[in-house]
Symmetry: C2
Subunit: 548 residues, 2 copies
């Protein structure tokens, strides 16, 4: 709800390029040329690899040649169901000692020790294991070791080997066993000149700075490069964690609401007119009719309430054509929306928010420890502070707190980003929580369908919810009487013709109701204190980015 | 995957208007004029009701006036939290005998018996209860009975009353108790001239025809009228059931996949280029760049596999700008998509389909009995026949079965709708199942990213799945080698420049993988044997419909 200024984090070099429109545009030209050069290099490299593969695959001189090599493509076209048992890297542990395991993963690192030994670190979905090739009569030939050391990083390989347990801790891998390789086959080669090295992409800012102090310059992968090569970037442990947490946030959202009698619905994203008025909509031609992409499921979720579903939720994309170049705005994100009948008071909606999010935070802390650790390794953050019963302050109380520390603020205006952050600090100091609800916002700063307060028409039955000083949820009681809704829409300058089917929905008997909307990416970003929403969007869309 | 002809069900009058483009367009003009007239009538009626409300609300002559009337709007603006306990209509049962209950619902029906008694059937989320007003000194006045009988149908009312248990079965309501009304307040009035009567909308075709035989002409609400006034239409018990089942289908899909290690993801719907080639895309301007709406998450879900997520699923809207005027095509629907690494064979993907859908059908039959009964009341259908282990036939076997009964068919072409239906019949007769997998489709009829068979490049590692003779799922192993993918794309006439980021994703090492896509609305439609996909879409979008 707050108005937005471009956000700059002066301490984080990753954020610099994309925050100033000018430099971003310049960069984007340079970037394009750079990408073009890279593509050419990659194509040349790919051709070289392809040539190399065919020459390496056949080695008639080695009687052990069948223990290694490139798997022919025809064998990968569902040729047979062998019935062999595959073991996941994350399942490799001491219980499997001396057993033969068959694993598939990526070559994360290779190290040759002379010509008779090699170490290959294999990675599968973020878990890694150290595999060892040692020249052994009748099993491992020197050519096989050479084959292994010639593999390009990130290639997919199948390894068959015996599990052993080393006496000392293994530092370079997550699994505390080793695989004594008997067979190794390359399933699909990666190009040798990767645009991003996974080790570089997984490095923390802290590590880079500590190295710099020690006189070593480590590669820092900037945010735009990460996003350009997102398929590589999302392989880092932190990113594997972020998107598994995102999935879990959605799960808890669903399961909690289902347990409270909500029904999951899907409303159309293609709509006539704009969903909430305003100009920040993507327009398109729908079979000769003007149409646009829904900025939220607001109108249709309310119509579902008019249609007797009682309590509904929706998880789906929402589209905003705003030119917001901030760390927390996207042109497309995943909306978590709720709408419900209320009997008496909008606090019934805030009660749902309260219980839902406390349940969510508890569950994330309980069930996602590994993922949170992986994120914390790269992007350090402190666990979110929240109360068992969520703090609720009125907007007026918030204004008062700000005024007490000398912040000048319009009591009937909205909070800007800076005031929101300041209030977040004050609330943290006073109440020891980074999660709270601010309610009874001025009517003038809320959408037309917001119900005014019974006792003061300058205020409304609405609320915002904050995590770590940033707005994450907006909600309210809605106007459920058609004549009054029409009046409010007109007062807010809405062209009521464009929302006539919506207003008509209330003529057939509408119950009092309210609801709220949350951005999935924002929940993840703020729970993990990430500095940019692009980190919690798998393939982000902003005003300058529509690929990959 | 099959080519489509417009579908006509000659026995179902509901399907007539929208199947012939000509008549649909004509109707649409007539419909518009009709709607305009209706709107004017509604507005006049609303004004009359409003006037009436204010005159009725105050009745100084009745000392019991505070037991009934219209709740003032100010009281509905979250004025207070009374702490009163509300009971849901579906929870009203004999256990509550002699207790006072407070309920909120819609007036479904009103019947006056003289001036001293009235029956009001109250409905909440599909459940109904009979409420009785009887003139009683100090509790119910004749004016109160008059107030109740003057309520318009579908209005929202609050009733406080004592629960009684009648000696005989109650036919006109779902709950087998009655409410002896002590207080009744109207929360929000519906206009008296509703465009659809819920009783009419809830009537089965059978009932209409039986009445006709007995000489009575009942109102039949056609499909377009239902969709024009969808907010009323979705209040019928059948529709309440359909969308609760839809929600459950999605739940089972999610929960099953999560239990098997899949990660739920969200990929962008706004993309540069078209997701699978072809012209049936909605185009738009994205901040000065040409863009379109994703026809499926195909490319991005594969990129998530290249990004090490191992097994992913996505639930989200997909957009098709096709001019398909059939009973089973929509311009926007909810895609259920799956993509997963495979070790050896595309049968691993079919195994997931098999277990997932058998689990789903079992669960729907177990947990959604009430909903299925509600649907069956209006749209009669027989439970789906399916096997514990899903039948798998090769495409060649399917062709053979069709040829044996004299159907002429191209062995390397696709099946048309008619052949699919015929094959469905044959399979049902021979194997006693209405759910089966047909695999090894001709390569020529599958998308460019489909992996050809190892033993015959005219066929592919692909499959379709059928329910009741209609295609519901398409899946396949994908080409995971970039050079080969490029070759296949070019062979299929794709402009490879538009999908370069997709193809590049495979250059960084891609595991063998496969997946499938399902339409949520189709699953619901075919599980319940509904005759039109518009019945299983909350607010359907077809080439002629973008509202409500």
């Amino acid at each position: 709800m707050a108005s937005e200024e471009p956000y700059q984090n002066p301490t984080n070099p990753e954020d610099q390029p994309q925050n100033e429109e000018g430099s971003a545009k310049k960069l984007s030209k340079k970037e394009a040329a750079k990408l073009e050069r890279l593509r050419k290099r990659q194509e040349a490299a790919a051709a070289a690899v392809a040539a190399n593969i065919s020459s390496m695959a056949i080695d008639d001189t080695d009687p052990l040649a069948e223990n290694y090599g490139d798997t022919p493509l025809d064998d990968l076209k569902s040729k047979e169901i062998s019935g062999r048992k595959w073991t996941e890297v994350k399942a490799l542990n001491e219980d499997l000692k001396d057993q033969v395991a068959l694993i598939r993963g990526r070559v994360q690192a290779i190290r040759a020790v002379g010509k008779k030994m090699a170490f290959v670190v294999l990675r599968e979905r973020g878990f890694t294991v150290q595999c060892i090739l040692t020249v052994t009569p009748d099993v491992v030939s020197a050519q096989m070791v050479k084959f292994a050391t010639s593999l390009s990083r990130e290639s997919i390989v199948d390894i068959e080997g015996v599990i052993t347990v080393p006496a000392t801790t293994i530092k370079g891998a997550t699994q505390q066993v080793e695989v004594q390789v008997k067979k190794i086959y390359c399933v699909n080669k990666a190009i040798p000149a990767l645009p991003i090295n996974i080790d570089d992409a997984a490095r923390s800012e802290e590590e880079i700075e500590n190295a710099l102090k020690a006189g070593e310059q480590l590669v820092r992968v900037n945010q735009d490069t990460r996003l350009n090569f997102r398929v590589l970037d999302i392989r880092t442990p932190a990113n594997q964690g972020i998107f598994r947490i995102q999935c879990q946030v959605e799960n808890i959202f669903r399961q909690f609401l289902l347990s409270e009698g909500f029904v999951g619905i899907h409303t159309p994203k293609l709509i006539a007119g704009s969903s909430e008025g305003g100009s920040a909509v993507f327009k398109l031609d729908y079979k000769g009719q003007p149409a646009c992409l829904a900025q939220s499921p607001q109108l249709h979720k309310q119509m579902a309430i008019c249609g007797d579903f009682g309590r509904v939720f929706e998880i789906g994309p929402v589209f905003r054509a705003e030119d917001s170049f901030t760390h927390r705005h996207l042109c497309e994100f995943t909306g978590l929306d709720v709408e419900m009948e209320i009997k008496e008071h909008y606090s019934e909606v805030m009660d749902v928010v309260d219980r839902l999010f406390v349940t969510m935070f508890d569950s994330l802390n309980d069930t996602c420890q590994k993922e949170l650790e992986a994120i914390n390794e790269q992007y350090r953050f402190k666990p979110l502070k929240y109360l068992r019963k969520t703090l609720r302050l009125t907007f007026e109380e918030g204004i008062q707190m700000l005024r007490e520390v000398g912040v000048e603020i319009d009591p009937l205006g909205d909070l800007n980003t800076e005031s929101e952050r300041k209030l977040g600090q004050l609330v943290l100091e006073k109440y020891d929580t980074e999660f709270y609800i601010l309610h009874r916002y001025p009517l003038a700063v809320r959408p037309f369908y917001t119900m005014p307060c019974y006792d003061n028409p300058l205020y409304s039955n609405s609320f915002d919810v904050f995590i770590r000083g940033e707005e994450i949820i907006s909600g309210a009681q809605r106007v459920h009487v058609p004549e009054y809704l029409l009046e409010r829409a007109q007062a807010c300058g809405i062209d009521v013709k464009t929302i006539s089917t919506y207003i008509d929905s209330f003529r057939y008997g509408a119950p009092p109701h309210g609801g709220f909307g949350v951005g999935l990416e924002r929940v993840v970003m703020l729970f993990c204190a990430l500095n940019n929403i692009r980190k919690s969007s798998l393939f982000p869309r902003d005003p300058q980015r529509i690929a990959p």
